[in-house]
């Protein structure tokens, strides 16, 4: 049973978490543990959400090469950040109360995400080139708008936008995390409970409908889940475009079958493991700060290229 492969994955993740928390722990232990626990929780939550959201997106798009990041979600995030700084100024942006700001940002991203994914999937489902091109063009348009708006910013405001445009696990707000954690856990649970329907969706829209699935309702629900997962994790730490793709590809390789009851936990676990192990390696063993997001993007990009070239070679 391929599902048994989830056990070593869970053990590895537990080991990674323990190492992240306890490696080279020194006084004041309570304070350091508390800091590390916050960062660890953010890594696990964001990794799990990215992996699961990508699997969900690939299922409803009917393609294993796709990820929410590729179709313009990151550009949308940067655009919203730019607009926010432009409207409020760097001082106003910095003094925003963290929780309401997080909620507003998440709501904007989730709403825009549902609209973006819904538009792309309705117009381009089943046609990868059209889907990716539409996403890329939307991304270019949003980046162009962001670039234009950034020219209107003061240098200090521009620096604030730049900082917010890259994922950072270094300064996660605890209040935001306390809200994001349960929200993402709930989204993951709902997604897992849809496993059987998601399996059916693998057969394509028409076949799934003739087997009794209310496909459009499922699509809407899943798009909302993806938007919430990606929006919450992006609002929490910033965009990590290719992490989900990396986790989903590894989950497929680990299980060898696409049944969601195992695939979703595997992708979530692998997403968390990549971030926890990567952060542990770079921060604790190599002494680098804020390198992980860049490395994950690089590796994820390589996986995307490998998948595209393998598919093209067939």
């Amino acid at each position: 049973m391929a599902e048994r492969r989830l056990v070593p994955l869970a053990l590895l993740l537990a080991l990674g978490c323990a190492a992240f928390l306890l490696w080279n722990l020194h006084a004041p232990m309570g304070f350091i543990l508390s800091l590390r626990a916050t960062k660890l929780a953010a890594l696990v939550v964001v990794g799990a959400a990215s992996g699961a959201a990508t699997v969900l997106f690939q299922t409803v798009a009917g393609n294993r090469l796709i990820t929410p990041g590729i179709v313009g979600f990151d550009a949308l995030f940067v655009f919203l950040q730019t607009m926010l700084v432009l409207a409020l100024g760097s001082a106003g942006y910095a003094t925003l109360p963290t929780l309401p700001a997080f909620l507003i940002e998440t709501a904007c991203l989730a709403g825009a995400g549902v609209a973006l994914f819904g538009l792309l999937l309705r117009r381009g489902a089943g046609d990868l080139i059209r889907l990716v091109l539409s996403g890329l063009i939307l991304g270019v348009m949003l980046r162009g708008l962001s670039g234009f708006a950034q020219r209107l910013l003061e240098p200090s405001e521009f620096a604030v936008v730049q900082q917010a445009s890259f994922a950072s696990f270094g300064a996660v707000d605890r209040a935001q995390l306390a809200l994001a954690g349960p929200l993402l856990a709930l989204a993951l649970l709902i997604a897992w409970r849809l496993s059987s329907r998601l399996d059916l969706a693998l057969l394509g829209r028409d076949k799934a409908i003739t087997l009794g699935l209310d496909f459009d309702r499922l699509l809407l629900g899943v798009l909302a889940l993806i938007a919430v997962m990606v929006a919450v994790s992006t609002a929490l730490v910033g965009p990590v475009a290719f992490l989900g793709l990396l986790a989903a590809a590894l989950a497929h390789a680990l299980l060898g079958h696409p049944r969601h009851a195992a695939l979703l936990p595997a992708a979530a676990g692998l997403g968390a493991l990549i971030l926890v192990a990567g952060q542990f390696l770079f921060e604790r063993l190599l002494g680098f700060e804020s390198t992980l997001a860049v490395i994950v993007e690089f590796l994820g990009g390589l996986v995307f290229l490998a998948l595209v070239l393998r598919k093209a070679a067939r």
Binding site: G62, R64, G126, S195, S196, R197, D199, L200, L202, L203, G204, D206, K207, I209, T210, L211, G212, L213, D214, F215, H252, G256, H257, P258, R259
Partner: protein, 253 residues
């Protein structure tokens, strides 16, 4: 019983079916024939509830098909279309098992497993049961899809060109399995199948519906429709039906 009343369907703004009315009694095999672009696949999609008509309706045993909920529809009709999504690494057993989904909604029981085993056996798929669908040949995939439609155990089965990827041996076996399904002593099914092979239609169909340019050209028992003049008019070329060693075959005139 299927009743189609004044059905008008457009695809991408182009009229495909024009006020089509048709009545098909329960049981037996109905072959849908006609030249390319006649509207056969569109009619089948409308009968499966997958395209919404601009006007008219399709009734299944008196119930409006397009007003039914997807699950209720899935318990009444199975559909096998031309576009089959690549279910990548699903095994043949998984794929056939999906046919039982309307019955168990994600929680299969012993009756579902028995139905899957029966369908695998009927279509000669036992040895392929644990292989990924992506590793199969076109014909093996087609048989797996038909086995899934069989496992769905619905009174009506709709198939769009199910023989397109099959060699003569498997094409014949599939048609004989469809005959067996339609004449099952316990649960006979109505089979509606789009066929391009007129020989297969002549040999296996109980009724034939002929479409031309979105209009009903002919409909009735096989012997009434499969005639030289009807076929020649339908395909705009000379065709004749002749008996060769006890079987009817369609030949160029």
């Amino acid at each position: 019983m299927i009743e189609i009343e004044n059905l008008r369907v457009e695809r991408d703004g182009t009229p495909v079916l024009h006020d089509l009315s048709l009545s098909l009694p329960s049981g037996g095999i109905t072959a849908l024939i006609g030249p390319n672009g006649a509207g056969k696949s569109t009619l089948l999609l409308a009968m499966a509830g997958l395209v919404s008509p601009m006007a008219g309706r399709v009734r299944l045993d008196g119930c409006d098909l397009h007003a039914m909920r997807p699950q209720a529809r899935a318990l009444r009709l199975a559909f096998l279309g031309q576009d089959q999504a690549q279910a990548s690494r699903l095994t043949v057993r998984d794929l056939v098992g999906f046919g039982r989904w309307p019955h168990h909604r994600g929680r299969p029981g012993p009756a579902d497993q028995a139905a899957v085993a029966g369908a695998l056996s009927l279509f000669g798929l036992n040895e392929l049961a644990e292989r990924p669908v992506s590793s199969l040949s076109g014909g093996q995939r087609q048989r797996s899809q038909i086995a899934m439609a069989h496992a769905q155990a619905t009174p009506l089965v709709l198939l769009d060109e199910p023989l397109s990827a099959l060699d003569p041996r498997y094409a014949r076996e599939v048609m004989e399995a469809l005959v067996a399904m339609s004449h099952d002593a316990v649960a006979p099914r109505s089979v509606v199948v789009v066929l391009h092979d007129l020989g297969m239609a002549t040999r296996y169909a109980d009724r034939v519906v002929a479409l031309k340019q979105g209009h009903l050209a002919a409909s009735g028992p096989r012997r009434e429709v499969m005639r030289d003049r009807v076929l020649s008019d339908l395909f705009d070329t000379g065709l004749k039906l002749r008996e060769v060693e006890g079987a009817d075959v369609v030949l160029p005139a």
